[in-house]
Symmetry: C2
Subunit: 357 residues, 2 copies
C-alpha cells in the first residue's frame, strides 16, 4: 500500500497562526506537532511502502523540513507549480506509483484533518483496502454527528450489506439546513471526507474514461526508473500549465460506476476554523480551550478559545471569545464569527501587508 497526502492547502481561517508559507497543515494548531506531522504518524500505522506528499512550491521547503525525522518509510515531497484542485494531484501521484507498482493500492489523505482514534482509523483503512483490491474506487464516509451545511454528503445504498462498504447512490453538494437534517435522520448519508483508497490501475483507468485530458498529460510524463523524483519538476510544470482545475469528486467519483463508501466511525474533524478547536481538544475545568499556554487563570470565564504562544493566560469575565497571539499578530474574534477571520486576511491583502499574510 502507498499513501498519498494532499498537503497543498492554503486556508486563511487559522490566521494569524497560519500564513501563506505556513498554512494550517504546517502549523501547530493544537500545540506540539503540526497537522501534517500528525497525519503522517497516523498513516504510518498502515505500514505503507512509501508516502508521497503533494504540496505547492511555496510550502515545499517547510513541508520537507517537517518530515525530516521520518525514517521508517521513504517520503517523496512533490511540489505542484499551480493549484489545480485534487484530481491532477491524485493523478500525478498515481502515475508516479504506477511506474513501479501499477497494481498497488493507493490511499489518499488530506494533510489537515484531525482523527482521534488511530486504531479505528487503521481498521477502517484495512476494510477500504479490501474493497480497493476488488477493483472499487473507495471513499471514506464520516458518520455525521450534526446537520452540517458546510460539507458535501454521500448517500450509501445500504439495502444489501450490513456494516459496509456500501455502493454509493449519489454525491450531494453542501445541502441547506432542512436537507442536512433529513440526511442526519435517514442514517444513509455520510460526510464526504476526501479520504480514498483504490488500486493505482483502477483510478488511472477511471481517469482514462472520465478525465481523458488529464490522463493524456500524465501519459506524457517520463518518470525515472528509480524513485528519484527531483528532476520531474520541469515536466510537471509543463503538464500543469495545460491541466484543468478539477476535484477528484467532480472529475471521477460522481461519475464512475464502481464507487463504494466505507463508513468511518473514528472521531474526525476537518478543523475548519478556530471555533472547531473544542471538537478536537477537551476544554479545561473552566470550560475554556487554551492551547500552548504556560498556565492559565480563569475568573468567571468560559467557552473561550485561546492560543497563547507559550504565554501565561488570564481570563476575566468573558465568554465565547477567540484570542490568538503569535510573534507578530493578535486576533480577537467572536466564537460565532471564526469564518470571518478571512475578512481580516483579505483586508491585509488589499493593503499589501505581505509580512502578515
Amino acid at each position: 500500500m502507498y499513501a498519498v497526502i494532499l498537503a497543498g492547502g492554503s486556508g486563511t481561517r487559522f490566521w494569524p497562526l497560519s500564513r501563506k508559507v505556513r498554512p494550517k497543515q504546517l502549523i501547530s494548531v493544537f500545540g506540539g506537532k503540526s497537522m501534517l506531522q500528525r497525519t503522517v504518524e497516523r498513516v504510518l500505522l498502515l505500514a505503507p511502502k512509501r508516502i508521497i506528499v503533494v504540496t505547492n512550491e511555496l510550502q515545499a521547503k517547510e513541508t520537507t523540513a517537517q518530515l525530516e525525522g521520518i525514517i521508517a518509510v521513504p517520503v517523496d515531497v512533490i511540489p505542484e507549480p499551480l493549484g489545480r484542485n485534487t484530481a491532477p494531484a491524485i493523478g500525478l501521484a498515481a502515475a508516479i506509483i504506477a511506474r513501479h507498482d501499477p497494481e498497488a493500492v493507493m490511499t489518499v489523505f488530506p494533510a489537515d484533518h484531525f482523527i482521534s482514534d488511530g486504531e479505528l482509523f487503521r481498521e477502517t483503512l484495512l476494510t477500504a483496502r479490501e474493497a480497493a483490491l476488488n477493483g472499487y474506487l473507495v471513499t471514506l464516509g464520516i458518520l455525521p454527528t450534526r446537520p452540517e451545511t458546510g460539507y458535501g454528503y454521500i448517500e450509501a445504498d445500504r439495502s444489501l450489506r450490513g456494516e459496509g462498504p456500501y455502493p454509493v447512490a449519489r454525491f450531494v453538494e453542501k445541502p441547506p439546513m432542512e436537507t442536512a437534517l433529513q440526511f442526519l435522520e435517514s442514517g444513509n448519508f455520510y460526510w464526504n471526507s476526501g479520504m480514498f483508497a483504490w488500486k493505482v490501475s483502477t483510478i488511472l483507468d477511471a481517469m482514462e474514461e472520465l478525465m481523458p485530458d488529464l490522463r493524456q498529460g500524465l501519459h506524457r510524463l517520463e518518470f525515472p526508473r528509480i524513485w528519484d523524483l527531483a528532476d520531474l519538476n520541469p515536466q510537471i510544470r509543463e503538464m500543469y500549465a495545460e491541466t484543468a482545475s478539477l476535484s477528484i469528486d467532480y472529475g471521477v467519483m460522481e461519475k464512475a460506476p464502481n464507487v463504494m463508501v466505507v463508513p468511518a466511525r473514528f472521531g474526525w474533524s476537518d478543523v475548519g476554523s478556530w471555533s472547531a478547536l473544542p471538537e478536537v481538544l477537551e476544554p479545561d475545568d473552566g470550560g475554556n480551550v487554551i492551547v500552548d499556554a504556560a498556565g492559565s487563570v480563569a475568573v468567571d470565564a468560559d467557552g473561550n478559545i485561546i492560543y497563547a504562544d507559550g504565554k501565561l493566560v488570564g481570563i476575566v469575565g468573558v465568554r465565547d471569545v477567540i484570542v490568538v497571539t503569535t510573534g507578530d499578530a493578535l486576533l480577537v474574534c467572536d466564537r460565532e464569527r471564526a469564518q470571518d477571520v478571512k475578512k481580516v486576511v483579505e483586508e491585509l491583502e488589499r493593503r499589501g501587508l505581505q509580512d502578515y499574510l
Copy 2:
C-alpha cells in the same frame, strides 16, 4: 519651586503589563513614554529648581534608568525602604528641601496620573503657587465629570471667591452613588487628586502640629550640605522602621485650618485600570482603543481595548473586550470587569508564580 513626584505605587490592575518591579508609573500604558516620564515632562513645564522622585527600593533602579535623559533639572531618586503611604514620603522630601531652601514652594504629584492639557496644568499650578506663597496648604481639586464612587471628594467654600482658590469646607471619603450624584450636581465638590502645593516651612509646621512623631523622625535625619543624597539610605531606613503609615490627607489636610483648594480644569484621569484607557486615548474610527499595534483591521467590532505589544491586530465581531499581550502573558477581560484583573494576580501569587507578578 521644587517638584516632588510620588512614584512608589505598585498596583496590579494593569497586569500583565504592570509587574512588581514595573508598576503602572513605569510602564508604557499608552505606548511610547511611561507615565512617570510623562509626569516629569509635564512638571518641567513648571521650571522647577529640582525634582525629587520618591519611590521604593524594588523600583529605584528602573526609575533612575527612565529619568536618565533629563538634563534640564537635577533629579534625585529617593528609595523608601517600606511603603508608609504619602505623609512620610512627603515629609522626607520636604525635610530634604528644607535643608537648602526652607521657604521654597514644593509641589507634589503622583507619578501615575494622566493630564491632557499641559498649558492649563501650568497655569493651575501658578495659581496654586501663589496661594502656597501666602502660607496655605493647597490641594488641587479635579472638576468631577461623573458621579464617581471610587474617589474622595473635597467640598469647597465658594461663598466668597469667584474662580478660586477656595477655602476647603471638608474632605469626604469615597461616597455612595446617591451622595456622589448630589456632589456632582451641587458644583461645590472636587475630586481629591493627590496633587499639592505649599511652602516647605508650611507643611513642616503643619506636621509639627498634627504629626509630631513624623516631624521628630525627620528632625533626627542629618542631611548633607550638598545635594548628595546617596548616603541617606541607612538613616531613612531607621526612620521608616518607626514611622506610621498615614496619608497626607488624613495626617494633615483634613485637620489643618489653612487648606485651600484650587479647581483643576485640565483633563485628568488616574487611569485606574485598563478600562480607563478610552478616557485618555481617543478611540479609532471603529470605536476601538488599540495601543502599540503595528496596524489593525476591525470587522464588526467596537468598544474594545487592545494592548498589542507591537503586533498587528485583527478584531472580528467582538464588543467591549480588553486584550493585553506582553512577552510572557496574555490577558482577556470583559471591559466591565477590569477591576477583577487583580484576582488573576492574587491567584498567581497564591500559586507562587513569581515570574508573572
